[in-house]
């Protein structure tokens, strides 16, 4: 209890907690879970976008998409490293992902059906992610906060790129306009769900707020996202699939319709179109790569032994 108080004081003073610092078990566990989930989301998130790399409509877009997906792998890497500072191995986290014990962002359980989805994912999914992540750059845990600074910088770039794809389509041929409107219709509500349940239904929130792992409520971030995004879409002549969406002068923000939380929980619990395929793909990559990882270890060991055998001779 004294320790907890002292810890909370450090947090309140905006001190960063570092790997070797003592920390409450709950704090450590929450962070491991959250950073792990975040890392897994980056890794699983490579799949829906990867699905369009081979069919990208121009070389410029193909290169940009490849670079983006590569960045996501990079984010996964920093985040796994950040989690490792809390005493969990990447392998362990990977196993938890494959067994279904660890979660990842539900948004990646929706399929990418046309090229427009790539634009919409950049604009909206990365946009929502940034909204969630910017506060994490000031998270109380140092390694996580520092990883997030780098992640956020790259995500903003992706988001601008996504919006630019959407803009190009919205100003394109009738088929392109139809494609991008259809993609917006499919992704809008799932993206709003990315901010999580209403504050009234959200677990963990208060403690996480106190620990400064979380700094804003789900609903506040969602509102901020809607307010920032709707004008961008309207500027392009796109329609949001929500008849109740309208500007509320009084509150200085948009009102929007009710979110289908049944759909949200269905997908979280494994009922999305792609849940099974995503995990199967990840597992297949992991299992098919086992012989490569084993060979790398075996070779390193051979080198070590050869060096050890060579050393005494050299010393003679």
């Amino acid at each position: 209890p004294e320790f907890l108080e002292a810890f909370q004081k450090r947090i309140d003073a905006e001190e960063k907690i570092e790997p070797n610092d003592a920390m409450p078990e709950g704090y450590r566990k929450t962070l491991i879970r959250q950073i792990g989930q975040h890392a897994h989301s980056e890794i699983v998130g490579m799949l829906p976008e990867g699905n369009w790399i081979t069919r990208a409509p121009s070389l410029k877009r193909k290169a940009a998409l490849l670079a983006k997906v590569q960045d996501e792998g990079g984010h996964g890497l920093y985040l796994y490293s950040a989690a490792e500072t809390l005493g969990v191995s990447r392998e362990q986290m990977t196993e938890e992902l494959h067994s279904g014990k660890a979660k990842y962002s539900s948004i990646f359980n929706y399929p990418t059906l046309t090229w427009a989805d790539i634009g919409i994912i950049g604009w909206l999914v990365d946009g929502a992610a940034i909204m969630n992540q910017i506060p994490l750059c000031r998270c109380s845990y140092g390694p996580y906060a520092r990883a997030m600074i780098r992640v956020c910088k790259e995500e903003s770039f992706h988001q601008r790129q996504g919006y630019e794809i959407v803009m190009t389509l919205a100003q394109g041929t009738p088929a392109q306009r139809e494609m991008v409107q259809d993609a917006l219709n499919r992704w809008w509500w799932p993206v709003l769900m990315m901010f999580g349940p209403h504050d009234s239904d959200s677990q963990h929130s208060d403690q996480n707020m106190a620990w400064k792992i979380k700094r804003f409520s789900n609903d506040a971030l969602r509102q901020k996202f809607v307010d920032a995004t709707v004008p961008q879409g309207e500027y392009l002549g796109l329609t949001f699939p929500d008849p109740e969406l309208k500007w509320n002068e009084e509150k200085g923000g948009y009102d929007f319709g009710p979110i289908d939380w049944d759909e949200f929980w269905r997908v979280v619990k494994g009922g999305g179109v792609m849940n099974r395929d995503r995990i199967r793909d990840r597992k297949a990559a992991w299992e098919n790569g086992a012989w490569v990882r084993e060979a790398a270890l075996a070779h390193a060991e051979k080198r070590r032994q050869r060096a050890a055998e060579a050393a005494p001779i050299a010393a003679e």
Binding site: I43, M46, L47, G50, I53, T54, R55, A56, P57, S58, L59, K60, R61, K62, A63, L66, A67, V69, Q70, G73, G74, G76, L77, Y80, R90, W115, I165, T168, G172, T173, A175, Q176, D281, A284, A285, W286, N288, G289, A290, W291, V292, R293, E294, A295, A296, A298, H299, A300, K302
Partner: protein, 245 residues
């Protein structure tokens, strides 16, 4: 138009191999390779874009990089057969990459002396990238060749599968020969042999006898794999003629 032809040979090699590498995306054997493979793919696709743009200028018919990449069919692609081979397993992908980079690195080095300024510019960037590809792919060839029993077997199989396509790297179609602006492909052979020889020695691999080297891609006679790859690569672009992306 020999320069145009020769640039297309180079550009097609880079794009096709870059596309093949990009097929790995999200399916690599470890996260580090999920970064390295797209990285190499990006180098190759980036170089292909500059080459296509320059080829389009040389041709003077108003074709840009996308017209050349997306609107030519299989019977117009000039890539060598090596780069169109399906990815196979990780051993085959890495060996194919080594074979290609061990050719391109000395090729671009020679191209640094080109009288053509654009070529020198492309070469200056590409030569460093290819040196990295040799290192990265070469290290994997060594690790896998001298790793476990299984990895050695797979690496050996990769050599049997792919070595027969390497001769074509040193070959240009008749239409693309005698271009001052670009190095002579055949002259790259000794350096390629040296690099591959060194890496194979460390990897405990034998350079195989190849009774029947395969070629044909330069003459636009491909294997059955390229058509399937291009069908996928070009589908979106072709479905929307004239659209801007």
């Amino acid at each position: 138009m020999a320069l145009f032809e020769a640039l297309l040979e180079l550009a097609d090699d880079h794009l096709v191999l870059g596309h093949r590498l990009s097929e790995w995306c999200g399916h690599a054997p470890m996260l580090e390779e999920d970064l390295a493979l797209p990285n190499m793919a990006l180098d190759l696709i980036g170089t292909s874009r500059t080459l296509y743009t320059y080829a389009g200028e040389v041709e003077g018919a108003g074709r840009d990089e996308d017209a050349l990449a997306y609107l030519r069919d299989e019977m117009e692609y000039r890539n060598c057969l090596l780069v169109e081979r399906p990815n196979g397993d990780f051993a085959q992908t890495m060996l194919r990459q080594l074979y290609f980079a061990a050719f391109m690195e000395p090729y671009w080095k020679a191209a640094l002396e080109s009288p053509d300024e654009t070529v020198r510019g492309i070469a200056g960037k590409a030569v460093k990238e290819m040196a990295y590809h040799i290192r990265h792919a070469g290290e994997w060839v060594i690790r896998l060749g001298d790793g476990t029993e299984e990895s050695a077997r797979r690496m050996q199989e990769a050599v049997e599968e792919l070595h027969r396509y390497t001769d074509e790297l040193f070959h240009s179609s008749a239409a693309a020969r005698g271009v001052d602006a670009l190095p002579d492909r055949a002259a790259i052979r000794p350096e390629w042999d040296r690099v591959i020889g060194e890496i194979f020695a460390e990897a405990r691999l034998e350079i195989p006898q190849v009774p029947f080297p395969q070629q044909g891609g330069r003459e636009m006679q491909h294997g059955e794999a390229l058509g399937h790859m291009l069908a996928e690569m070009q589908v979106t672009h072709r479905a929307h003629p004239g659209a801007v992306w």
